[in-house]
């Protein structure tokens, strides 16, 4: 499938989808969104890119094998729960901190975000692994 329109659109949409997926990820805590949806959105983006060009190009864009994302995601998700263990609290107790730059940012950051990031990466990795493998068949 190599129509010019699709290819151009895919390039633009890829960037847009990526930004949107990160937006969804960060937004998930207080509004609809979250790691799972974010991962799916960005997978859709790369799937579209792979349809427009081909899988090899899409893979080169990723600069890492899709399977690696899965394991990194799992590590991040599991690791986010290890911190509290060092303080003697149960595994996966949420740790929260405040990032304050007076006047500019006042952010509450916590380990659930890290966990969500891990889920994001896993969903991204799995979906793309499946789609790319099927495409290459």
């Amino acid at each position: 499938m190599g129509s010019l329109i699709l290819r151009t659109a895919a390039r633009l949409l890829l960037v847009l989808f990526l930004q949107f997926s990160v937006f969804l990820l960060l937004r998930g805590h207080n509004e609809p969104g979250g790691g799972f949806v974010g991962g799916l959105v960005v997978s859709a983006a790369f799937a579209l890119y792979a349809l427009a060009y081909d899988v090899a190009t899409a893979r080169r864009l990723l600069w890492m094998d899709t399977r690696l994302f899965i394991w990194i995601g799992l590590l991040v998700a599991a690791g986010s729960g290890l911190g509290p263990l060092l303080q003697g609290r149960p595994f996966m107790t949420g740790q929260w901190g405040h990032l304050v730059l007076p006047g500019i940012i006042d952010l509450g950051l916590g380990t659930p975000l890290l966990f969500d990031l891990g889920a994001y990466l896993v969903v991204f990795g799995v979906t793309l692994t499946i789609i790319f493998s099927l495409e290459e068949e």
């Binding site: 207080n30 799916l40 899965i70 969500d116 799995v126 979906t127």
Partner: protein, 768 residues
């Protein structure tokens, strides 16, 4: 503490053994033997305390809620066995180093042997019923690995499996029996049971308990009709046969009977069940031993016979019988292990194991010949060897038994006669006479190969001459442990002219006669042999083959390889069973269904229904995929309508990706001319509707029932306070229930890996 270390040290060294072996080279056997030697010393230090009547016990909590603890108990009986296990273990390890020298898996062999040693030690010292069972099964398992050590040969694998299955089945029975006893006695500590014998024996479950425990003991100790695995186990390397299948593992059943004698013994049922089995086994084993020509098989059957004798003695249960049993355990272990090691040395040196092909070896292997003759004399029960003392005590016990005295004497004497003949055939005849040519040129084997049998045979001689060495220190305490009351022994070679001595003389004469006339006897036996073709070994083989056939048939039926069959089966059965339960157990609860439906909800429902119908009726795959996609989008809309935007978003995306995926897949696949026929579709629609109806009914029922306060109120109240969040769904996923989500993304990862593997690795045909 020390006892736990003693038991576990074998396992620890076993783990390191393959790596250590690479460093030790030729002296491996000697180096590894340091551990069992240390254990011998350790146990020997306890002799004094045990002799004085004390016991040593150690307990570690394991699963307190079930009463299971890792407890060990050292008394006279366990000390006797522990010394046997570790002492013979030293010699076996040394012997293995020489016998299997150069074998590429010798390190692994040492690991298995050490694991076995640790398991056996744990077994004899275990105080908790579950601990006992665990080590019991561990011995079966290590025996499996050891018998099948030469795993390239199919007969070795077959024999190992046979031993494992027979002893494993017995182990299950034993577990049941032990647990029942625990129920009756209100606890699982065996030392606590020892004082409560009356409770078990008068209990209604006593026959069942006895049957189960005897099942375990008889399978392990190769009593008829479970004896057939022991001769097959001779496929193992000789050190294994010498260690496991003569001196230690097969004695586990004997140990069990001895240990549980105060609790289960003394009743008529015990007397008849155990004595009769033992008697049959001892006679049959001896008769079979005479008919064999392979050295190891002769020894195997004679082991079966002696195990039968020990069982018989424990069945008799009198004080004299128990004393005889303890002495025989020791005597038998010493001479039988020695003889097996001799057989191995002969095999190693000449390449022949058939006694008809061996003669005149005393010139070539003097040390081995010496050890063999001494051990054979002990086996035949000739003075001044320890075996003689054992046999005398056997006769004494038989003479003292009141009912059936003559029968017992007859059986005992006949068996002993046969064993005399067998001892001569296997232990002396190969070494006397003229030399014959053998495949390998025989020579005296290295030290590691004759020190074992030499030492063991020598001990048989030493203890025969000086039985006082053992009398008070080890044997009396063990008898007391089995009897449950103090007892004194009087071991000596010469007790004066008494009936036992007369019986011994008769035995030797008879044995000589049997040897002289053995050809005649064998001819008679071979006529009768046709009967044994349908013996227990044949039943085992038939059962195994039948089991495999049934498994193959039912697998072919259920696991046909078609995904639609699996799906149909799973969904269908769930629908039927669930529906049945729902209808049966349904109190009439009218579901909380109001009928105020909005127009847009109605439209959604109609669209979903239409989509499902189109998917079921579609003429091409793409049509149905698209229709299913429409259904999916409607589901997503439902989520949105009912206040779950996250779910709705996710569902939209997944549905889109699914449609894309399907298109990719089906675009590439060849056209399917044959889609499901109408009747098949009707069947599928029926099952699907059933399943869907079931879930609907379940959901309606579930929402109508309110047993606990709803979780959603908890989450709603606490999500902002505890988790700083206003999106309850998300915070449940990543915070409140983060552990579940971690599990789910792991499953996702595994699924992804699975898909990848299926797709990528499939086309390569590996020529195996």
């Amino acid at each position: 503490m020390g006892m736990v270390v003693a038991v576990l040290s074998g396992f620890v060294l076993a783990l390191a053994a393959p790596y250590l072996y690479r460093m030790t080279g030729r002296a491996a056997g000697w180096i590894f033997a340091v551990l069992p030697a240390g254990l011998v010393v350790y146990f020997a230090t306890h002799i004094g305390a045990i002799e004085a009547g004390q016991t040593v016990s150690v307990t570690y909590e394991w699963v307190p809620a079930l009463g299971i603890s890792l407890s060990f108990y050292l008394d006279g009986l366990s000390l006797l066995f522990a010394l046997l296990i570790s002492g013979i273990g030293v010699l076996i390890v040394i012997y293995s180093g020489g016998y299997l020298e150069g074998h590429r898996q010798l390190g692994l062999f040492f690991a298995f042997i050490l694991t076995f040693m640790g398991s056996m030690l744990g077994l004899v010292m275990a105080d908790n019923a579950i601990t006992l069972f665990v080590f019991w099964e561990l011995t079966s398992l290590s025996s499996y690995f050891l018998i099948g050590f030469d795993h390239e040969r199919e007969i070795a694998r077959f024999s190992a499996l046979q031993a494992l299955l027979v002893t494993g089945l017995g182990g299950l029975a034993l577990l049941a029996g032990l647990l029942l006893m625990g129920q009756v006695n209100g606890g699982l500590e065996i030392s606590a049971w020892l004082g409560q014998g009356g409770a078990v024996q008068s209990h209604a479950l006593y026959p069942l308990i006895l049957l189960l425990v005897l099942g375990g003991a008889f399978t392990k100790s190769a009593q008829a009709p479970f004896h057939f695995w022991l001769p097959s186990a001779m496929e193992a390397p000789t050190p294994v046969s010498a260690y496991l299948h003569s001196a230690t593992m097969v004695n586990a059943g004997i140990y069990l009977l001895a240990r549980l004698n105060p609790i289960l013994g003394g009743t008529h049922l015990w007397f008849y069940a155990v004595t009769v089995t033992g008697g049959i086994t001892m006679l049959m084993g001896a008769m079979q031993a005479l008919q064999q020509t392979d050295m190891k098989r002769i020894l195997a059957y004679s082991t079966v016979s002696v195990l039968g004798t020990l069982t018989l003695l424990l069945g008799l249960g009198s004080e004299q019988a128990i004393k005889a049993a303890m002495v025989l355990i020791l005597a038998h272990a010493l001479y039988k292990a020695a003889m097996f090691l001799v057989a191995g040395a002969v095999d190693h040196g000449t390449g022949v194991r058939d006694i008809n092909g061996l003669s005149g070896l005393r010139h070539a292997m003097p040390m081995v010949a010496l050890a063999a003759s001494v051990a054979a004399l002990s086996m035949a029960g000739l003075p001044p060897l320890f075996g003689f003392i054992g046999k005398e005590m056997l006769y004494q016990a038989a003479l003292e038994t009141q009912p059936t005295r003559l029968l017992l004497i007859a059986v005992a004497v006949l068996t002993s006669m046969l064993l005399v003949a067998v001892a001569w055939i296997v232990g002396v005849r190969p070494f006397i006479g003229e030399k014959i040519t053998t495949p390998k040129d025989p020579h005296d084997p290295p030290v590691s190969l004759w020190i074992g049998p030499g030492l063991l045979a020598g001990l048989g001689l030493l203890f025969g001459l000086l039985p006082d060495l053992l009398e008070r220190s080890i044997l009396s305490p063990s008898v007391e442990a089995v009897l449950g009351r103090p007892s004194a022994m009087d071991l000596a070679l010469w007790h004066g002219l008494n009936p036992e001595l007369a019986l011994s003389v008769v035995t030797f004469a008879g044995g000589a006669g049997i040897y002289a006339g053995r050809n005649v006897l064998l001819a008679i036996a071979s006529r009768v042999a046709a009967v044994t073709r349908w013996g227990p070994a044949a039943w085992y083989a038939v059962t195994l083959i039948g089991l495999n056939r049934v498994a193959l048939a039912q697998t072919r039926l259920l696991q046909s390889g078609y995904l639609r069959v699996y799906l149909l089966t799973v969904v269908g059965i769930i629908a039927v069973l669930g529906g049945y339960t729902l209808i049966r157990g349904a109190q009439v609860v009218s579901p909380a269904v109001g009928f105020d439906i909005h127009f847009h909800e109605l439209v959604l429902a109609v669209i979903m229904l239409l989509g499902a119908i189109v998917a079921a009726r579609a003429r091409s795959v793409l049509y149905s995929v698209v229709a299913l996609g429409a259904v999916g989008y409607c589901v997503a809309l439902i989520f949105v309508l009912f206040g779950a935007p996250d779910l709705g978003m996710t569902q939209f995306l997944i549905e889109t990706l699914m449609v894309i995926l399907f298109v990719i897949v089906f675009y590439r696949m060849p056209r399917f001319e044959k889609l499901s026929s109408t009747s098949v579709r009707l069947r599928d629609v029926f099952v699907a509707t059933l399943a869907g109806g079931l879930i609907t009914a379940l959901v309606l029922r579930a929402t109508a029932v309110q047993w606990y306060p709803s979780m959603s109120t908890y989450f709603a109240e606490h999500s902002y306070l505890l988790a700083h969040s206003r999106n309850i769904v998300n915070v449940i996923l990543v915070d409140f229930r983060a552990l579940d989500t971690l599990g789910e993304i792991t499953v996702l990862a595994v699924a992804g890996a699975g898909v990848y593997t299926l797709l990528k690795l499939r086309p390569q045909k590996r020529e195996d």
